[in-house]
């Protein structure tokens, strides 16, 4: 996994709530058996006109000012619906590494951390201020400092956010979750042996 490094990048504005994973990556683009290449179909149904090729000029992320954005600022309950990890794959593949909202759906939230994406939860007032700053100055760049847990804007906002300490370390180090868990192999084996005795019907008879 890519380590998450402090960066200053364009913040794109998506003033919609309940953006669900079906919108993030419609299911007709989920049939690939690889993890990459989903970015081109990120927000497909909003992003392209009926011919499925021409960018829809009305769609916010198609604005030239948001080209190259790494930060996505969106309304509440982002990432709800289907558990598909294709959603964070598409977001990362498109180029975002940070999503800011007032709330995220659980599965999406934890999927982000597995893909070097930082989901940042802010208050309603903070979100409104961030959105207002982008709306007033499209193309503005925000700084995201995970180490210090801060979002800093040229407009003078300095927003502190919470993030689980373990997830933060994993993001900063680009650590592989499975390798971390396998360090606890002994505890897992002990648990299994005990469960075999306690609930033998869960195990194939030896």
């Amino acid at each position: 996994m890519q380590p998450y490094i402090k960066h200053t990048s364009i913040a794109a504005l998506m003033d919609r709530s309940n953006v669900d994973t079906d919108q993030i990556i419609p299911k007709n683009f989920m049939k690939k058996v690889e993890r990459t290449g989903f970015g081109i179909n990120l927000f497909h149904n909003w992003r392209y006109l009926a011919d499925n090729i021409t960018p829809n000029p009305e769609f916010e992320l198609n604005k030239p000012a948001f080209k190259g954005a790494k930060i996505l600022v969106a309304g509440e309950n982002f990432g709800c619906g289907s558990s598909r990890e294709h959603a964070p794959w598409a977001i990362a593949d498109y180029g975002f590494n940070t999503v800011i909202s007032t709330s995220f759906a659980d599965i999406f939230y934890s999927n982000c951390f597995k893909n070097s994406i930082l989901p940042i939860i802010v208050t309603d007032e903070q979100l409104a201020a961030l959105m207002a700053e982008i709306a007033g100055n499209e193309g503005v760049e925000f700084t995201v400092d995970l180490e210090a847990q801060k979002v800093i804007t040229p407009g003078g906002l300095s927003i502190s956010f919470e993030v689980d300490a373990f997830r933060k370390e994993s993001l900063l180090d680009g650590l592989d979750d499975i390798a971390w868990t396998l360090k606890h192999e002994e505890q897992i084996s002990t648990y299994e042996a005990a469960q075999r005795k306690r609930l033998p019907w869960l195990w194939p008879s030896a």
């Binding site: 299911k27 659980d106 606890h184 648990y191 609930l199």
Partner: protein, 465 residues
Amino acid sequence: MTRTMYEKIWDANLVHEPEAGSPLLFVDRHLMHEVTSPQAFEGLRLQNRKVRNVHSILGTIDHCVPTKDRFNIVDVIAKKQVETMTANCEENEINLYGMDSNQNGVIHIVVPEHGFVHPGMVVCCGDSHTATHGAFGALAFGIGTSEVEHVMATQTLQQKKAKTMLVKVEGKLPAFSTAKDIALAIIAKTGTAGGTGYVMEFAGNTITDLTMEGRMTLCNMAIEAGARAGLVAPDQVTFDYLEGKEFAPKGDEWPMAVEYWKSLVSDEGAEFDALVELKAEDIAPQVSWGTSPEQVISVTGVVPSPSDFTNEVKSQACTNALKYMALEAGQKITDIHIDVVFIGSCTNGRIEDFRAAAELLKGKKVADGVQAFAVPGSFPVKVQAEKEGLDKIFIDAGWEWRDPGCSMCLAMNGDELEDGQRSASTSNRNFEGRQGKGGRTHLVSPAMAAAASVAGHFVDIRDWK
């Protein structure tokens, strides 16, 4: 100290709680389908890792399967997904009810049919509707593909403890109201984010009166309320359902298991972090009018207006939904005309659902211009329905009787709405484009869907002949 059922399952499955880092929760059962697993197998191969407990996994192929001419998958990428799933399961000796198995069907229908999930288990699947299995008193939830890989390699998940919410429903349901209507009414009350961060336990005499099928429908939709999982306490209904099934405990182990399962029920006086209460009497048949499962109302109601919502976000969401759904505020729900009717999915694709629909369809005909199709959740459901002659009732009424699969629940298999078409659907999501780009979905129970197919618009089945 008193504990809730969630806390008991958590404690029983906690492998390790390190000082720094995430608690590790043991996973007892891992369900799998073709869409969210290939990248996980790929990951294992690249790292030279093995599947740890093969017996814990059960797989099926369901999302991409056409429900007509099922072996003829025209989409080459979908075909590749099916082949990849089959090959991955073969290579790892995983129990797969694949394309040519007579047990094939939608994962959350197939798994209970075989008694693969028991009370107290931690169950996961790369699929949000894993919540279905909470009906058995198992802690069952959806995970992402990286976690699918993690479970295969370690048999554990890095988990954070959730908060608990007690959802209590008491009283007798009105005629024709079903578990689906309870689920929709709960979501209307909590909102689709209301359950975020919580595990919901459904309790009260309305819930204990439900069949296992009904409990599965209810827990299936817990995820639409944003909850991590739903739970129903195991009782005699649960035990009777499981007894004798292929993967249920047998012989001397059966009474041991039942005793253990009984011990999992939330203690008297156990504290929950939140409480939601509903009266069953208030739950009329529900119809969703918007593009989120919380945008739902009784069949007796009218389409709301943005000004009905004091919350600005919800008001804006109403405006957007009315536009997408092509509905007018104030329009009666029973005046909404439909083009397509779909009965199926892991929410309402069980035998009980087809019985309820057939009851209403007997001797009736589908309205002019309406296309209706029934998709059993699995081959065992299909076979049972045919044994009871239900297929004839559907076909005589002008319905199509299809083969199992996810079908138009998510429309990645050829079954989909055309741009602008409107459906009455027994599935679980009415998101924009879920059933086809530009398609408009109204979520309802099987009986409501059946009646709508005949009338051509929604009707209050309680006073419909």
